[in-house]
Symmetry: C2
Subunit: 206 residues, 2 copies
């Protein structure tokens, strides 16, 4: 049986997932947006940041999100940023399909992550990711523009937002340009920790 | 002891509280935004829509919000819209202070609602509402622009958002223009029903 196609992001209460710039103020709010992630045991292990960490529901959700992902798809800008930031053992441990105009041979990393560079569009990248994921799910990893392309194309089955208690006021909005006449949502799970509220929706066509 | 100053609104997942226009599509999404309210017993009773209705946690929250409010403050546009829409027995049953440039004598309605028209600004309106509310809370009832003026002035103690499973794509954003460098949030309550997620935050200064 084929898996689902999903995304999972942290969003500010006013709808932003990334700062407009990396100035001081937004740097602080960006840290607040992601503050629920950093102390988690799974995050620390997966990014090789050291032992220990929290093990509550936030950690469980991070681990579930990882475990269900048999392959990921991402845009070129996220890949470029990650190529600088990820450790040698990139944190996916699955095939990753990068939607890009750049032609490049697959890039195999220690620990099971191989980046494949797809030059013929988002549907092709998704088809390849589905095939690679088998019966596990495909995560559209980001960035926001890539997520929205898949959402507006009707290719997302469900998504989870970690709604953080922070206001950005400016930046990159997750749903900017969403085709609201096409996308209907059905809430399927809600779970709050002291740090963040995790909201999962199934996507339906209107 | 003085009460708190709060607001409580329904917001779409992409941050909108009202449509940009009343066209067909947005009419549908506006109904979805408010869909959790209409079936509730308290809403039906308070607006004289008839007997019966749901009595779960959504209804409890509507009733709590009403019970804690010893006075309300609203902008002129919300008042104008309400003046057309509310039943004779307006649904506040307390003093209501309308921030406006229009001079007008207090307007007393059956059932305990009296509208007072305040011409000297939001702080004056709030002072009068506090005095009228006694030890109960003051609700900033809306619209969005009035809520944001109070929030940016540091006059809101806490707020509750009923986050509805709908995307607007366009319209009036609750937090458009928020002073994100001033407002910090502390989550104090989260409760989900099958229809909506109620999120309450205390407002802190950064």
């Amino acid at each position: 049986m084929a898996g689902k196609v999903f995304f999972s992001v942290s969003m500010s209460l006013d709808g932003f997932i990334a700062p407009a710039s990396l100035g001081e103020l937004m740097g602080k709010q960006w840290m607040e947006l992601q503050a629920w992630v950093f102390p988690q045991r799974f995050f620390r292990e997966n990014l090789k940041l050291g032992e220990g960490g929290e093990e509550g529901s936030d950690n469980d959700i991070l681990r579930e999100t990882f475990d269900r992902s048999g392959a990921s798809v991402m845009g070129k800008r996220l890949f470029d940023a990650g190529e600088e930031a990820w450790p040698d053992e990139a944190p996916f441990h699955t095939p990753v399909f990068v939607v890009t105009h750049t032609e490049r041979d697959p890039w195999e990393r220690p620990g099971g992550t191989t980046f494949h560079f797809v030059n013929d569009g988002i549907e092709s990248a998704l088809d390849q990711a589905r095939a690679a994921a088998g019966d596990r799910d495909v995560r559209i990893a980001g960035g926001g523009e890539t997520i929205l392309e898949y959402l507006n194309a009707g290719l997302i089955d469900e998504f989870t937002i970690a709604l953080s208690p922070v206001l950005f006021g400016a930046g990159v909005r997750l749903f900017e340009g969403v085709d609201a006449g096409r996308v209907a949502l059905e809430p399927i799970r809600s779970e709050s920790s002291p740090r963040v509220t995790h909201l999962t929706y199934a996507v339906r066509e209107r």
